[in-house]
Subunit: 343 residues, 2 copies
């Protein structure tokens, strides 16, 4: 049995779901992988930053609020960077809020964690778009892994399936529905809601932000295209380089026209290889029922890869939740150590 000390930065819905999943899967992971997963530090936005050398009691973590009062034997860190520097953990899990502009402070956290000898796993698109090469180079230098499965399509295997299962595949392009929020809004508009009503609904269930522009203007989708392009197409770009239209321009008349012709509006992300390089875009399209995009409902997402060896490989994730994102991070950890076990 190998004990794995994990520290977690970011304790919102996904961070909490990750702790619940580690708790629920603890015995199974011990039995199947020989790994005793321990949570030895948590850094929160507003409830401080605590460490526990041999790991918090997982049952206690999942059954109440996170506070120094409930964990009197814990040590208190000033902030996330101090936790990283002092915890001597094996794995750093990063899921702080995304910063589309710079990827900070996540990039600094992840850099420091690598420098302190940890594997790093993030659910945050910011550092993948802004620091993929830098973090990958540093990870290789330190003999550690940098994984980020949950950044695109939550826990569905996108980066991992291409990395682990599809060797020697040359990707020639992809098309995808990668933003849950806009897909949900378009589905609600099909049922007669106005754009504003649909946004309000998405906000009410926590899918859209108070300022929904990151989703509805296609920024989130563009960041995901940038991440996929950077990692899978070896074509590093920033979101600003992607041709981008959101869904604000779709009118009731447009919805009506789609309905009349048996079609649906979808916000489609595209990467196409041309003789003059990659063409990357995010734009609404009317989709007919013979397309695999047609049946992508609500917050589900879908990607279709074209490659030199598989003419069309589609991956659907239906009904995601914070639990799904949490699984992507757990899968990253187990994939890191299952390769180590081969050693």
């Amino acid at each position: 049995m190998k004990s794995i000390a994990i520290i977690v930065a970011g304790y919102g819905n996904v961070g909490k779901a990750f702790i619940r999943l580690v708790h629920r899967k603890h015995a199974e992971v011990e039995n199947t992988y020989g790994l005793d997963l321990r949570i030895s530090g948590i850094s929160t936005g507003s409830h401080g930053c605590l460490g526990m050398k041999d790991g918090f009691n997982l049952q206690d973590l999942v059954s109440g609020v996170f506070s120094a009062d409930r964990f009197p034997n814990s040590v208190s860190y000033q902030n996330t960077l101090e936790m990283i520097a002092k915890s001597k953990a094996d794995v750093f899990i990063e899921n702080t809020p995304v910063n589309y502009e710079t990827g900070q402070p996540a990039v600094s956290f992840l850099t420091s964690a690598l420098e302190n000898g940890m594997h790093i796993v993030t659910a945050n698109k910011g550092p993948v778009v802004h620091a993929f090469e830098k973090l990958t180079t540093l990870a290789n230098k330190m003999g550690k892994k940098f994984l980020f499965e949950s950044t695109v399509m939550d826990g569905a295997p996108i980066f991992s399936v291409i990395r682990e299962a599809l060797p020697a595949m040359q990707i020639n392009g992809f098309e995808g529905i990668l933003n849950s929020c806009t897909n949900l809004i378009l589905c609600r508009m099909e049922k007669g809601e106005s754009f504003e009503q649909a946004v309000h609904y998405a906000q009410s269930i926590g899918i859209a932000e108070t300022d929904p522009s990151g989703d509805v203007d296609g920024w989130d989708a563009a960041v995901k295209v940038a991440a996929l392009s950077t990692v899978l197409l070896h074509n590093p770009v920033i979101p600003q380089q992607i041709k981008r239209s959101g869904i604000r321009s779709i009118t009731e008349a447009d919805m009506h026209k789609a309905h009349e012709t048996g079609k649906r509006w979808k916000l489609i992300c595209t990467a196409e290889r041309t003789t003059s390089g990659w063409v990357l875009s995010v734009a609404p399209q009317m989709i007919g029922p013979k397309s695999p995009f047609f049946s992508v409902e609500g917050t589900s997402s879908y990607i279709l890869f074209k490659s030199d060896v598989l003419p069309g490989l589609g991956i659907l994730e239906s009904n995601p939740s914070p639990d799904t994102t949490a699984y992507g991070m757990l899968a990253d950890i187990l994939n890191i150590y299952s390769h180590e076990k081969d050693v």
Copy 2:
């Protein structure tokens, strides 16, 4: 650079596509994986069985018929078993015709190859359904791998994605369109062809056998369900245990009814976990446009997994060919050695 000697049994469309792919990817595989893939033996149905100690010239293999005349320096083996025993190869690739009843002679070939110290890779469902446990046990004992990605959905990653990318996932069921031939026949019938006309077309392009009953009566689909159940659900079954209806009973009136209601007939494979165990079935269903099965066209295939960590994970393979099946076998080889490289 590590030299890998590969012997191949079965030289039909898939066997030939595999050799073409090894030829096309040879330099890439050398550069990326440090593996020099060599074809050091081929056993054919009617053109004999030849070996070449340091590997055949790949360009010569792909550019003409396979015969002793064209390879005067080759050695001639009496049969596949002699090739396995004498070739001292590293990997045995098996793609002889499927035997639904017993899995033979493939099971004997694969057993002998393991006993002779080779990794084994097959595109043949027979041995997976009839000898999965026996071959897996022997492979483990010999320290070798037994992989079979191409047996279900050709080269699309099914077994590999679950094995390599989705750790600690408990599968609770699946639904899939797994037989290309019946899906193509149903698509043709939608366009007005009779069942007989559609079968005839499928035969004319090499998708259906002269006796099409293995496909149209649901046997091929049932064998794939049995393979998935045995390997992924840890529930070993033979095809005869699966509740099975084919597509012969679908009348023109049924097609008409589907068309009128905006639906399509699909042959759906299902595995459902119940309190009394797994319920496995193959049966035609009418599918509406909001299902991911609706858009599965022609010879494409699709599977949707339900699990404890991802509510719905769908995988589509569109437009497969012998090249796609060949890629599944190449991927198996590279996955074997990329894990060895970790050692």
